[in-house]
């Protein structure tokens, strides 16, 4: 396949110590490639989110190595991690995390203002089909719309990777599909690598590869040669 974007070796994350020690990640090896869409499946506490947080520069690993585009992420300090997030990563969370005091367009612009070569906020909103909602405040939007604004905000800076932690977790099937379609469009059109955490097994079918997590390890990995369109996902 293509060039690897993340190379993860022996990644371990331990919370607490002694008797209350929790191994959230227990020696994970994994590679993500440029432009691929990966789905991370597994029960709660299996380590998916911890992995995503470390890869996204939100958390530090206890041991192991993460290379981003050949550069070690695990060696970066706080300031460099902030810069890494600012320039290379887009995040989408379960609860959208929009700024309630800013309109949809302003929420997107918040990120484009500090990016090097962003698309315009309107362009980003068009990609998620929400141009007509540009001047609405989050409180005036439905959950699905809010999540799509969050996606527009995440991709507006043209990040190399898009990390989505349960993006459809709070949504019904109809709006969930709209959100997945937005993600899929972006993956296809911009070539952005996407890693999506979900509890919804059906979603695995839109991915190129599916990773199964259990007890802080990758238990299994499946390659999906023929990903389907989100509209065909059985919820």
């Amino acid at each position: 396949m293509q060039k690897p974007i993340f190379e993860i070796n022996g990644l371990t994350k331990i919370y607490g110590s002694g008797e209350v020690e929790v191994r959230a990640l227990n020696g994970v090896d994994m590679t993500l490639y440029e432009g691929e869409m990966a789905v991370l499946l597994g029960p709660s506490g299996s380590g998916k989110s911890t992995l995503l947080n470390i890869v996204g520069g939100l958390d530090q690993a206890t041991s192991g190595k993460v290379l981003f585009d050949g550069r070690p992420l695990t060696a970066l300090n706080e300031r460099e991690l902030t810069r890494y997030r600012r320039e290379h990563v887009g995040f989408v969370f379960q609860f959208y995390n929009l700024i309630p005091s800013l309109t949809a367009r302003e929420n997107v612009a918040l990120v484009t203002e500090i990016s090097r070569a962003p698309m315009s906020p309107d362009e980003a909103l068009a990609m998620v089909n929400l141009s007509d909602r540009a001047t609405h405040f989050p409180a005036q939007l439905s959950g699905g719309e809010q999540q799509r604004i969050a996606i527009a905000r995440a991709i507006a800076k043209r990040p190399e990777v898009l990390l989505c932690d349960e993006p459809t977790g709070a949504l019904d099937s109809k709006t969930g599909i709209l959100v997945l379609e937005a993600l899929s469009t972006i993956n296809r059109e911009l070539g952005t690598t996407a890693a999506i955490i979900t509890h919804n097994v059906g979603i695995r079918e839109i991915a190129n590869r599916v990773f199964y997590f259990k007890d802080g390890k990758i238990e299994d990995m499946q390659v999906n040669d023929h990903p389907i369109s989100p509209s065909k996902v059985s919820w």
Partner: protein, 787 residues
Amino acid sequence: MRALDKKLVYDLRRIWAQALAIALVMACGVATIILSIGSYRSLEETRSAFYERYRFGSVFASAVRAPLTLKERIASLPGVSAVELRIMQPVLLDVPLMVEPATGIAVSIPDHREALVNKVYIRQGRLPESGRPDEVAVLETFADAHRFTPGDSFEAIINGKKRKLTIVGTVLSPEFVYAIGPGDMVPDQKRFGVFYMSASVLRALYDMEGAFDDLSLTTLRNADLGRITEGLDKILKPYGGSGARSREDQLSHAFLDNELTELKAMAMIIPPIFLFVSAFLVNMILSRLIELEREQVGLLKAIGYSDVAVGWHYTKLVLAIGLVGMVIGVIAGQWLGLGLTRLYGRFFTFPFLIFRHSVDLFLLATGVTMLAAVAGAARAVYSTVRLPPAVAMQPPAPTQYRSLFDRSKRRFQRISRRTIMSTRHLLRWPLRTFLTTLGTSLSVTLLVTAVFAFDSIDYMIDNIFFRTERQDASVSLVKALPLDAQYSLRGLPGVKRVEPFRATLTKFRHGETEKRVPIVGISNDSRLLQILDVEQNPVKPPNSGLMVPDMLARQLKLRPGDQVQVELLEHNNRVVSVPVVGLVSSYVGLTSYMSLKSLNRLLREGDRMNGARIRIDASSLPDLYQEVKQTPVITSIALLDVSLQKFRETIRENITTMTTLYVVLAVIITFGVIYNSARIQLSERARELASLRVFGFTRGEVSSVLLTELGIITLLAQPLGWLLGYLFAWMVVKGFESDLYRIPFVISSETFANASLVVIVAAVVSALIVRRRIDRFDLVRVLKTRE
């Protein structure tokens, strides 16, 4: 402990910093109530106890020379309970190791018995024995200033003769609690002393056998003071009586009264500020806390806790905070009270100080503060408690914002999104924003109100010591002498210029009101005294007619052109009608001015003077002093420089102490308001701010969102604080206005700037403490939680 009470303890532990910030503001409220009302009571009770035990006179009068046989007539005036006839004379003192002469008042004490009125308190030693011409008891302040103890001696010029006097005791008197020398603006314990001698000795020294020149009497409860003074005036008129006066016109008493008025004003102004701020802070914090615990409230109600039980739970939280504030406040109030009492000790001399730990005062202070806190909490508690459990357990509806500052509009293009976030957030809760701003502005107000006194005093000093009084020294003579006496003064060593004046005590009457007013006559070419009109321009004394201070004009409703009835108190109470020709600006006393010629015409004694302003060559001062001490006709000499220095010292010390207190109070308010407001914002916007961090905003950029809001509030608070400070300062000026002195209403731009500087620094520090929390955000945890 019940489960709900355990929750209370955990809650308190969690919000300890905010709770402490509120408790401190409450403590200021409690402390200032205890301080102001406590000091008021302390001073008031001490004064009345001293007055009562030492029989402070209710009415005072003096005459030139009146026979002792009048005593019965005076005692039989209705309402009089005791009369003491005495000798009271100004003297010049020659104290060892002191170059300049001090001034003093010699007061007689009855032979072979206790004084019936104005009894003295003996601190050390004893009273002079009857008939001993060399024995004196001196006022404790004077003795302390010179480190005199019984056995020491000094010299005094008594009726033109120098005498050596030996101190046999130090005393305190209800008449001289505030012992201020003639013509002085502040007490100068070194240069002014009161001493007591045996009546028979003083009579002999002043050729007053069988006579008196001063009297004081006590009255029965409900006595008609007006009738007594009238009766006294009638009795004393043939003997040169200069008008009886009640306590209100007694100098020491009037100064004490002034101080009491000021304390009362302080009690009315300062504590309410803190009560308001603490009520507001409690409301702000509790509203947020309850909002965060909405689901818990719903749950508690769902499992069967009543509205009252839930409401009481949160009320207890407030009461717990109040309790901490109360304890700190009571301790601080006591401590400050003692400090203020000690400060009083320098101005007011009492044999004892009653600083009672009155329970009712503590109850009042803490009750009022608790009430303010609970009032602040009431709305927050009520609004949550009345929600049905099912609704309470749902998260609150998302916050709606208004699209102000739409950046598609060109003029808003340059505003950053972060500024827009801050501004919209502020405008979303306009009342809270306003109250936060108001709270912060009150710190500025407090500071302006405290610090402006420096400007006022500087202005007053410039006005009095540099523009009005331009002499090097002023001398007063033992009595009115022909104007030729100025040539003898001119002949004293180092004297370069002499400007004679004539001063006389009168009573002004216009309409219903009357006032005791000294009139000073000065020559038309006077240079050493410059009268200033209300616009502060120098004016010449008029050829005829009076120039009166604007304050007196207001009191008597006088306008230039009006005729005022002037009773010449030192000239057989003859009443003359004199036109008012102009108003003068004056900050001390009610002295009115005339030309020397016209005053002398009015007094019908020929061209006379009883004092002079002089310019001297500083190098000959010691010789001059030496000479003055030998000159019987001179009763006092006051050096302007010395007065100024003493004035500055006293006032500075006084104001500095108060200003320090106010700065501390202002910093506490600022901290309480800004810190709490920052914490609330942080709590409300944790997700927003964490999101920004996730998107790659640096810590600095994220903090700027929060700091922008606080910055806007702090900046808005400045002009509001200045405005309120201006108003408060004006109220202070009006509150201080009395016959004794007024303070000019002057506030410099530096005062506003300094007040703002202190508040801004305090705000920045408070905000930075909160900023550290942003730096320690657990991004993952914050983002994973639902709002």
